[in-house]
């Protein structure tokens, strides 16, 4: 076990998989950086510092620094994948899904089904989420929108170990995976298993355990929920905190088992509230776990607005540990 941060875990996994399989390629904007400049190749190595060193090691045919053309990045990843390669495509910001949605939504999500079982091993890495005051077009948590598309697997690690395990599974799998990396989690450190480490999709992680309430969440909100649970534990209120890890496929069993025990569901979601992960899980539990419920389902989400810029506004926009605590108390106080 090595201790590293999420950024290092992702970077070392990409290096390892490209070393292991000469069919793996990576493409995206500024992933080499400095092309065509006085600084020369690798002057940047990715704006998140994740892809440095790949170009020198694997060369321009496998480490492809592209012009700013998101549709072409995803489309080219798809075409390479249909041609027998394993493509890692980087979208610098998940918000740019808006530019290339056709290639995600109408193309790679459909190929296996529509083409009679064609393999399309594409891992799209997307940096997402609020917390760095990057404002409305560089802060969104668009995983809910992509989770709604049949044919895409949707993954969002919250620890360096999970990042390695889930990314390895994504690259080695034969289907398109949307791999969401939260920009505020890149620096988080943790122990990461050495050597081959694969995590299967559709298996949630139990972050805290407790019988009084079930907090279901993912991504950046996992840390917020764990803090809320720790605060509540001081008062003797014990909560399950469930990190979904993947929202498609989704571990329904772990959610339903937890609610069966606690009778109280609090869903915490960084995406806007309508047609969201929160409403989806609330619907799931209302449908399949209704008899166990002892209180109305609480949904902790941002308001239905774009992500605001100013520090005070973004803080007010994002769900907080205090807000999650309040939602748990409200559920516990019902009747």
């Amino acid at each position: 076990m090595a201790v590293m941060n999420m950024r290092e875990a992702i970077a070392s996994t990409i290096h390892a998989e490209m070393e292991r399989d000469s069919n793996v390629l990576i493409l995206g904007e500024d992933i080499v950086g400095g092309m065509g400049t006085a600084g020369g190749p690798e002057a940047i190595g990715g704006i998140w510092g994740l892809t440095g060193g790949l170009y020198a090691k694997f060369g321009p045919n496998r480490v492809i620094d592209t012009p700013i053309s998101e549709s072409c990045i995803i489309g080219a990843a798809a075409g390479a994948a249909l041609s027998g390669k394993r493509a890692i495509a980087e979208l610098m910001f998940a918000d740019f899904v808006g530019v290339c949605l056709d290639q995600l939504y109408n193309q790679i999500a459909k190929f296996r089904y529509m083409f009679g079982g064609a393999k399309c091993p594409v891992t799209v890495r997307l940096t997402y989420g609020a917390g760095l005051n990057a404002a409305a077009q560089h802060s969104q948590a668009v995983y809910a929108m992509l989770t709604s598309i049949p044919g895409l697997k949707v993954v969002m690690p919250t620890t360096p170990a999970d990042a390695k395990g889930l990314l390895t599974s994504a690259i080695r799998g034969d289907d398109p995976v949307m791999f969401f990396e939260h920009k505020t989690l890149y620096g988080d450190k943790g122990e990461v298993p050495d050597g081959d480490y694969l995590l299967p999709f559709g298996h949630a992680r139990m972050v805290r355990e407790g019988h009084d309430a079930s907090i279901v969440t993912c991504g950046q909100m996992v840390g917020f929920a764990a803090r809320a649970a720790d605060n509540l534990a001081k008062e003797g209120i014990a909560c399950d905190v469930i990190d979904l890890r993947t929202t498609s496929p989704m571990d329904e069993e772990t959610i339903l088992d937890s609610v069966e025990m606690s009778g109280r569901l609090i869903v915490v979601d960084e995406s806007p509230p309508r047609c969201s992960l929160a409403s989806d899980i609330a619907g799931l539990v209302a449908n399949k776990g209704f008899a166990a419920l002892r209180a109305p389902i609480e949904m902790v989400t941002p308001p239905h607005t774009p992500v605001p810029f100013a520090r005070e506004l973004e803080k007010a926009y994002l769900p907080s540990a205090a807000g999650i605590e309040a939602a748990v108390r409200k559920a516990l106080a019902y009747r």
Binding site: S71, C72, G75, Q107
Partner: protein, 322 residues
């Protein structure tokens, strides 16, 4: 290098197969045998075959919503295609794709595509895969005078030049983007000059002349296979049917189709050229005609007899069910 006799025979056989496939679909669709939206390729056969006769199975193509011709030219199984269009369980895509989504990645046919302009980025990826393999293989994107105006096509042209991708942009100008004339929709002198503006080799050819089309593709692909980056060819071609089957085609001029069929039919032009020059005789071509009609008849009979999918098949080839 002039084409050998067996190559000419194969090219004619493929073009004739496309033509009869489409003519028969036109009839079966009118009879109510086929569901959904179908876009026929008849009239453009010399383009698909002129390109694909220059390709090996390791070269890859990406097609359009008007894709039957590209599929047949690349070597897709004709009976499997007919079954797919009839929506049968053992169709080429198990009845899940239909006319607009026929693919066979095992032979380098990376799919027809219902989204106009979506193909060029995908073909670019196939070209980048070929570049990784470094064996001189290429990719081709077929793009119409409609799709040539999509931003994705522009992006792909630029990125192909920047990355020196071995990609051929086969621009098929059939003069109609759906129901709109190319003089209205293409805001440039032509597609070839536009491609040239992106920094690639670009040529123009009469896409109703198979021999000329074949030769220019052969020439241009040498450039691509040698690592010189992408190239473009604009084929001046004709669409004999409407945008979709059922299109009333009120945008056509008086007897336009009759004139095109008599003066711009690539099969007639091919027959005239090869018989007059003595490359092939009429009897050989007549025999191919008869064989192709028999093949199409068999394909339709088998498609009609083939079992439809069951409700349970809705859930095959999915990643997760809820």
């Amino acid at each position: 290098m002039p084409l050998a006799r067996h190559e000419l025979i194969r090219a004619y056989q493929r073009m004739k197969t496309i033509r009869e496939f489409e003519e028969r679909l036109h009839v079966e669709i009118a009879n109510g045998q086929i569901a959904g939206f179908t876009h026929l390729y008849a009239g453009q056969e010399a383009v698909a075959v002129g390109v694909c006769e220059n390709l090996s199975v390791e070269d890859r193509i990406v097609s359009t919503h008007r894709g039957h011709g590209h599929c047949i030219a690349k070597g897709c199984d004709v009976v499997g295609m007919m079954k797919e269009i009839f929506g049968r369980r053992d169709g080429l895509c198990h009845g899940k794709g239909g006319s607009m989504h026929i693919a066979d990645t095992t032979i380098g046919m990376l799919g027809a595509n219902g989204i106009v302009g979506a193909g060029a980025p995908i073909a670019l990826g196939a070209a980048l895969a070929a570049k990784m393999d470094d064996k001189g293989h290429v990719a081709v994107t077929f793009t119409g005078d409609g799709a040539c105006n999509q931003g994705t096509t522009f992006e792909a042209m630029n990125m192909a030049v920047v990355l020196k991708a071995p990609l051929l942009f086969a621009f098929e100008n059939n003069h109609y983007s759906e129901h709109t004339g190319d003089h209205y929709s293409v805001g440039a002198k032509d597609m070839a000059s536009r491609a040239e503006g992106f920094g690639m080799l670009a040529r123009k050819v009469d896409g109703c002349d198979f021999l000329a089309s074949y030769d220019i593709v052969n020439d241009v692909l040498k450039h691509c296979r040698a690592g010189n980056g992408p190239a473009a060819i604009e084929f001046n071609t004709e669409r004999f049917f409407g945008h979709f089957e059922g299109d009333p085609q009120r945008y056509r001029g008086p007897d336009e189709i009759g004139r095109l069929r008599s003066t711009r039919d690539c099969l007639k032009i091919f027959r005239d050229k090869v018989t007059k020059s003595g490359l092939l005789d009429g009897a050989t071509l007549d025999q191919i005609d008869a064989d192709v009609l028999a093949l199409i008849e068999r394909a339709v009979e088998e498609a009609q007899k083939a079992p439809p999918p069951t409700a349970a098949d809705v859930l095959t080839n999915v990643y997760a069910t809820y």
